[in-house]
Amino acid sequence: MNQKLKLLAQSAFAIPGMIATAHAAGPAATEAAYRYSYYSEDDSPAARDDSGGAQDRYKIQVHQFHLLTPLTDKLALTVEGSYETMAGASPVYTYVPAGEDTVYTHFSGASQEQRYDLNVSGRVYGSTSDLGVGAYVSVERDYLAVSGSVDGSIALNDQMTTVSGGVSGGYDLIEPTSAYEAGSTAQAANEPARFGASGQSKWQVSVFEGVGQIIDMNTAVQANLAFTYKNGYLSDPYRDCPHAENVPCDIRPSTRAIGILGLGLRKFLPSLNGALHADYRLFVDTWDVASHTVDVDYYQNWAPNWRLFTANDIKFQLSPGIRYYLQSSGYFYEVPDLNDSIGGQVYNTDTSRYYSSDPRLAQYGAIALKTRLRVDFRQFSWVGALERYVANPEFGFNSSEIPGLPTFWRFTTGLDYRF
């Protein structure tokens, strides 16, 4: 078959209904993908930093790899890995210093870290069902995480409805850095959190269930529920702070139960040749954190009809999106006001057992604007993406100041290859 005939065949098989696609068969082609991402947080405001200067905040570079290979027509293997380098300062604790009336953040000295992770999974495909198994490991200098999962799905009702479910479990081991000195009373006194976190671990179990429904030839919806239970050392070991003796800095409950409800819509708009995505996630947990996440994205296709483009299968896709995130604070979140210290006590009594001033547990909202561009060329695709994320207490209807919240740019570029 020569090129002219191959192109004619492509036009023929592009007509809907020319290819038999009844069975939820496994993937037919191998795909490989690489992504490079650069993440950079805005410098923190000098006016809110207790060192008096602006901090060079977090910068991350991530290299991601993905490979999906069909081993037989019913079995596929996926391998994903990433390598991440992180540098920069991050907020350690937030407080109102004595003699001030505004909130300040203390930052850690800039550190440089690396993280590797690997995920291997296999999936078996039946005519209307599939079953997958996966294993995951992530390694950092101070952290080791392993997890495994099993999940599957069944298509019912003339394959209009898909029911899916899965369980997973993970185990994390923490070994905070800046060398742990066994038996050191000095370290135990000066860096109680770090000292106490050595050799700590945590485990978690998660179960999810989802239902997907095809509404018509252009529309599909999905709903899912997930429950997770975590047990073990859940505090942040780097939040040592010198407010006063016997003042805990970051001590969180040793258990956390989480419930998540997710809803999603995918709608294709034929007259525009574009697809609309809308997703909502409700998150609630036993730390009193409740959050809403709304994600709306629009994927616009463009395939110019000029000879050069159709001959080489060149297509474009631009997808802008917006994400709004709103969370309520954990019940043990508090920014201590050192002006209020009475007899050495700087907290309200109900936070005397658990405490954290971590901005990630505050009430705030975040808005992210992102745009992605994908260019297809024969079997290759180039992707580029840019995101601007701003977290702000006012977006969460909170009039307090939370100087430690992140604001960042994220840039991604990458290549996909199908063969």
Partner: protein
């Protein structure tokens, strides 16, 4: 139970249709459901693309009701395919030639009145519809005709339904043929190619595995004037059938749609296409075919069973 070959014959799309399916005789209800599904898909395509039904989508298009309105995915796919064939055939494969039937009368042995033909020619030309990939606009006096593709597309649709049900069968819509699988025992299907001048006899029988087969010939509908044969395949540049072209051709391809388009293009070309002989063009695109020229010389890449 072991499957047996069940045949159904009926009329659809203006011609005889035949379904040959290997089915389990112990499942009469399921078999009838399958036949019904196939017949209703044929009915759906006919209701959508027939120029004889005034409510069909095609009739609406020809009345101008879809000018500059986005058409559905299936129609867009077919029109994009037709557009591709138009380019591939050096502008010979043109879905706007249908209006010429007003001056070509195959029941009489008369050539069309040149003045009347001349008045129709400006209303022919696929590019004049300004197809964008989603919509077109029909100028007054122009007409769109899916006749060149819809029967072959219907064959492919029925074959897809058979494949989805895991049934081995052969679909024959008035000579446009498609098969969904080999016959039991991995045996190919056997198809006869009609002799273009002795149309009740077979020129050759061919083995057909999985795919489509379509043919075209100047014997299907023609008139003879002064000893010359004028077939029903009309060229958009002359308004006349090709001169000194093939007498017949049968093409094999992965889909009946492709087989039919290549066969039609080869017939319309006359002796040359894209500065090559038709034989060189067919050999270059490397598609299996069997052709007969006006001197009844048989050539082509298909192996024949004699």
């Amino acid at each position: 139970m072991t499957p047996v070959l069940l045949k159904r014959r009926f009329k659809a799309m203006g011609g005889p249709c035949e379904l040959n399916l290997w089915l389990d005789p112990g499942e009469p209800v399921a078999n009838q459901a399958l036949f019904s599904q196939l017949e209703s898909e044929l009915g759906r395509l006919e209701a959508k693309y027939s120029r004889f039904q005034s409510h069909s989508l095609l009739s609406q298009i020809n009345r101008g009701e879809w000018n500059n309105r986005a058409l559905d995915a299936e129609t867009c796919g077919l029109l994009n395919y037709i557009d591709h064939c138009f380019e591939l055939s050096c502008k010979l494969f043109d879905p706007t030639v249908g209006i010429l039937r007003r001056v070509w009368d195959y029941s009489r042995s008369e050539l069309p009145d040149p003045v009347a033909l001349g008045r129709l020619m400006p209303s022919i030309g696929w590019p004049k519809l300004a197809w964008t990939g989603h919509h077109l606009r029909l100028l007054p006096g122009m007409e769109l005709d899916f006749g060149g593709v819809v029967k072959e597309f219907a064959v492919d649709r029925l074959v897809v339904i058979l494949k989805q049900q895991g049934v081995s069968g052969l679909v024959n819509l008035a000579g446009d043929i498609g098969t969904s699988a080999l016959q039991p025992g991995d045996r190919p299907w056997q198809v006869a190619m009609r002799h273009p001048r002795h149309t009740q006899t077979a020129l050759a029988t061919l083995d057909l595995a999985i795919g489509g087969l379509a043919g075209s010939g100047d014997y299907e509908r023609f008139i003879t004037v002064a000893g010359r044969r004028y077939s029903h395949l009309l060229r958009p540049d002359t308004g006349f059938p090709p001169v000194d072209g093939l007498a017949a051709i049968t093409v094999l391809a992965d889909s009946c749609l492709m087989a039919g388009s290549v066969a039609t293009i080869a017939m319309l070309a006359g002796p040359t296409l894209a500065e090559q002989t038709v034989q060189a063009w067919l050999d270059e695109i490397n598609i299996p075919y069997l052709a007969v020229d006006q001197t009844l010389n048989v050539f082509g890449s298909i192996k024949v069973n004699g």
